[in-house]
């Protein structure tokens, strides 16, 4: 009974938070609601037993997106804060209502759908070089998806580089933040490294570690402890491109000299996966940090 109560509570809370985010009168309140929504979503993932996802959602979904929203909010203070009068589009209101019955009709039979894949994953897990199934799928069975996904992250960075950004006026670091930062930043780095290492055996992995490192870098930048390095300087450029470059070079290497495109040799699978994970998390950390805190001077092509 309580099981059912918790689920329905979480579900309804999610829907309410989402509605509140969209229709809150002031922009600031809707951003706060949105961050609440993100955290609640992380809790629901954990509730449903997907630890990898809970970590990723908390770090990337709620954390960094929330910081970005706050950043965007801070830059352009709400001049006239009248209630957002949604466009009186009749069809925009009716469309979701029309689609709802179709969706419900489609969802009902889904709980009994066929599922051949989990059995195959367990069967092949031994040859994948890692023991945690999600990491095995991400970095071995469907490694092509992950490579393309790293490209997506790179595109986001390249996109931000092309924009003509107005230079941000740096705030003097807030003393309490300085104190916090001395403890939190190293802890975040440590935690990220642990997540990265544990990814092979248990929930964790490149993205979660990368996100944590990125948050650590953002904290250091907020306190002005990290110098702004221009993109022209290789010390910033190479780590940012590390993930994609290592993955692509490995793919081409396995294609030319190995058994085929992205075929990890059985013996070295674990080592190669770890190498890729390390490179990917470094790349993601630098990229996400640049996305969040990237100064105009740093990013200018």
């Amino acid at each position: 009974m309580t099981e059912w109560l918790v689920d329905s509570g979480l579900g309804l809370a999610l829907l309410l938070l989402a509605a509140a985010t969209l229709y809150a009168p002031r922009l600031y309140t809707s951003v706060v609601f949105f961050m609440g929504f993100g955290l609640l979503m992380a809790i629901v993932w954990a509730r449903l037993g997907a630890a990898d996802l809970a970590l990723a959602e908390a770090a990337i979904g709620a954390g960094l997106t929330g910081v970005l929203l706050m950043g965007a909010l801070r830059e352009h203070p709400p001049r006239t804060e009248r209630a957002p009068r949604p466009r009186s589009l009749l069809w925009a209101a009716l469309l979701p209502l029309a689609v709802l019955p179709l969706l419900v009709e489609a969802i009902l039979p889904l709980s009994g759908g066929a599922q051949p894949l989990p059995a195959q994953v367990d069967a092949q897990l031994a040859y994948s070089g890692v023991s945690h199934p999600v990491t095995a799928v991400l970095l071995n069975f469907r490694s092509w998806d992950t490579l393309l996904e790293l490209l997506v992250v790179l595109f986001a960075l390249l996109g931000t580089r092309q924009l003509a950004l107005s230079s941000r006026h740096p705030h003097p670091p807030w003393p309490l933040l300085l104190a916090w930062c001395r403890w939190l930043a190293p802890l975040a780095f440590l935690l990220g490294a642990y997540l990265l290492w544990r990814g092979a055996k248990a929930p964790g992995g490149a993205f979660q570690a990368g996100a944590l490192w990125a948050s650590a870098i953002v904290m250091l930048r907020l306190n002005g402890l990290l110098p702004t390095v221009s993109w022209r300087d290789w010390r910033l450029r190479l780590p940012a491109l590390l993930g994609v470059t290592v993955f692509v070079l490995l793919a081409v290497a396995t294609w030319l000299w190995g058994a085929g495109w992205l075929v990890w040799p059985p013996g070295a699978a674990k080592a190669l996966i770890l190498l890729v994970e390390l490179a990917a998390s470094v790349g993601i950390a630098i990229t996400l940090a640049l996305l969040v805190m990237g100064e105009d001077r740093e990013l200018r092509p």
Partner: protein, 474 residues
């Protein structure tokens, strides 16, 4: 299959090299495109001799791993993409107006090429989601190259592109929920016409139509394509819009069961005719040069949608050949038209159409390229557009019950003739005195003429091309 992968990895490595060394060298990109073109042609010949080939990535057979499949159509599209990239790359290197100096245009165009190649080769519906996302993002970023005035259009394009990807992803989730596999061939065997599959396919179709700017979900395209730099809008209109169309075609002709296809056919065909008429009408009334060319893309995609819809409705496989011949002809003609329009717009200094007054005297070669490309869009014989329209018309005219569709095609032709010749008529007017710093770049104008001559040159190989297309896509 290896040559196809080479055709994919060449631009990818070139992009990474440019990013790592932080240099803006056009020759690197053009050489990469040419290597990719040669590799694509080899893969095309392999497919012609040995038929379809597939490759299990990472050594894991599907359904576990991702399978890349080289079909005749995808080999042709690989060659087409590499050819367009080489042509546009040459133009961008030469032209002074393509904002390639102080931006990341060169690595981005290589990454766009790699993303397209990944899409043509992929055979896995989730992998298509990631490649679609890649395509959408790189297109948005390249629209932003035009500077702050393009950010508004780019932002709307990005939001609609994300929403479309999520529609598509929800469809993928439903399909995976029912059948448990992501590979297209396995899905094709397992697919049944139950409500879940119907809704999933509908969602995926809405997402793909939004990304391919097929009428009535085309509202983001004119603003985005017309505000982008010249070379970028050529790439967007010729290639990026065709990616989702390829997936839509594969979904409906391979995965969807027959009766769903038959039911959806007329709706797609009606949307096609709608695109022809509404898109054509908007192009006729567009006041700006590139806006008119962008609306013409929306209109011309109507032919592809019409061919797809009728092919599904009547199981008439010769319409496949019409669809893909149209994609080739439209791509080449649109590249030439956008390059010519962009060159004239930046040299004459104004975005308005009436600034083209007397363009035949001031910029004769660019206007000639525009008119020749327009001729292929209208479908004047013996251009590529005519071949596509000929193949589209034959099944329509065969039995009298299908004549209303033929009427739609005829009206589409008339409207496209109207908006092309509206510009040509303006250009034959008396030329206004040109501004003192008016020095047209003749070589860039000749480069913009090249794709148009290619689309008319398709007449030389038209018979083998049509016989191969009608034979190959079965």
């Amino acid at each position: 299959m290896n040559t196809a992968l080479l055709s994919l990895s060449a631009p990818l490595l070139a992009a990474l090299w440019l990013l790592l060394t932080h240099r803006r060298q056009a020759p690197v990109v053009i050489v990469a495109s040419l290597i990719s073109l040669v590799a694509a042609v080899f893969s095309l010949y392999q497919v012609i001799d040995a038929g379809e080939q597939s490759l299990a990535l990472g050594g894991w057979e599907s359904p576990l791993g991702i399978r890349l499949r080289l079909m005749p159509v995808s080999a042709m599209l690989l060659t087409f993409t590499a050819l367009i990239h080489s042509l546009v790359g040459l133009y961008a290197w030469r032209s002074r107006h393509s904002q390639t100096r102080h931006t990341d245009y060169w690595p981005l165009s290589c990454l766009l090429h790699a993303a397209l190649a990944a899409l043509w080769l992929s055979h896995d519906i989730f992998n298509w989601y990631v490649t679609l996302e890649l395509l959408g993002l790189v297109a948005v970023v390249m629209v932003c190259l035009a500077g702050p005035k393009a950010y508004g259009a780019a932002l709307r394009y990005l939001l609609l592109s994300l929403a479309a990807s999520l529609c598509y992803l929800l469809g993928v989730a439903l399909l995976y929920g029912v059948y448990g596999v992501l590979d297209v061939s396995l899905l094709a065997e397992a697919a049944r016409a139950d409500p879940s599959t119907r809704t999933a396919l509908m969602l995926m179709t809405v997402g793909l139509m939004l990304k391919a700017a097929l009428w009535p979900l085309h509202l983001w395209l004119p603003a985005a394509h017309s505000s982008a730099p010249t070379a970028v809008s050529a790439l967007l209109s010729a290639l990026v819009v065709k990616g989702p169309l390829f997936i839509l075609w594969l979904l409906w002709s391979r995965v969807a069961p027959e009766e769903l296809g038959q039911a959806a056919g007329p709706w797609l065909a009606l949307a096609g005719v709608g695109a022809l008429l509404v898109g054509g009408w908007s192009a006729l009334r567009a006041p700006l040069i590139k806006l008119m060319v962008a609306y013409s893309t929306v209109a011309q995609l109507g032919y592809a949608l019409l061919a797809l819809g009728l092919m599904l409705h009547w199981r008439e496989l010769s319409l496949d050949a019409a669809l893909w011949l149209f994609v080739l002809a439209h791509g080449l003609a649109k590249v030439s038209m956008f390059l010519a329009a962009g060159e004239m717009q930046s040299t004459l200094g104004s975005r308005r159409l009436d600034s083209l007054k007397g363009a035949t005297q001031t910029m004769p070669v660019a206007m000639f390229a525009f008119a020749v490309a327009g001729g292929s869009l209208i479908g004047l014989p013996p251009s590529g557009g005519f071949l596509a329209k000929w193949l589209l018309l034959l099944p329509l005219l065969q039995n009298p019950a299908h004549w209303p569709w033929a009427l739609g095609v005829m009206l589409g032709t008339l409207i496209s003739a109207a908006y092309v010749f509206r510009v040509v008529a303006i250009s034959f007017d008396r030329a206004r005195p040109t501004s003192p710093d008016f020095n047209p770049d003749r070589f860039a104008q000749w480069l913009s003429l090249l794709p148009a001559l290619l689309v008319w040159g398709m007449a030389l190989i038209s018979e083998q091309l049509i016989l191969w297309l009608t034979g190959a896509t079965l």
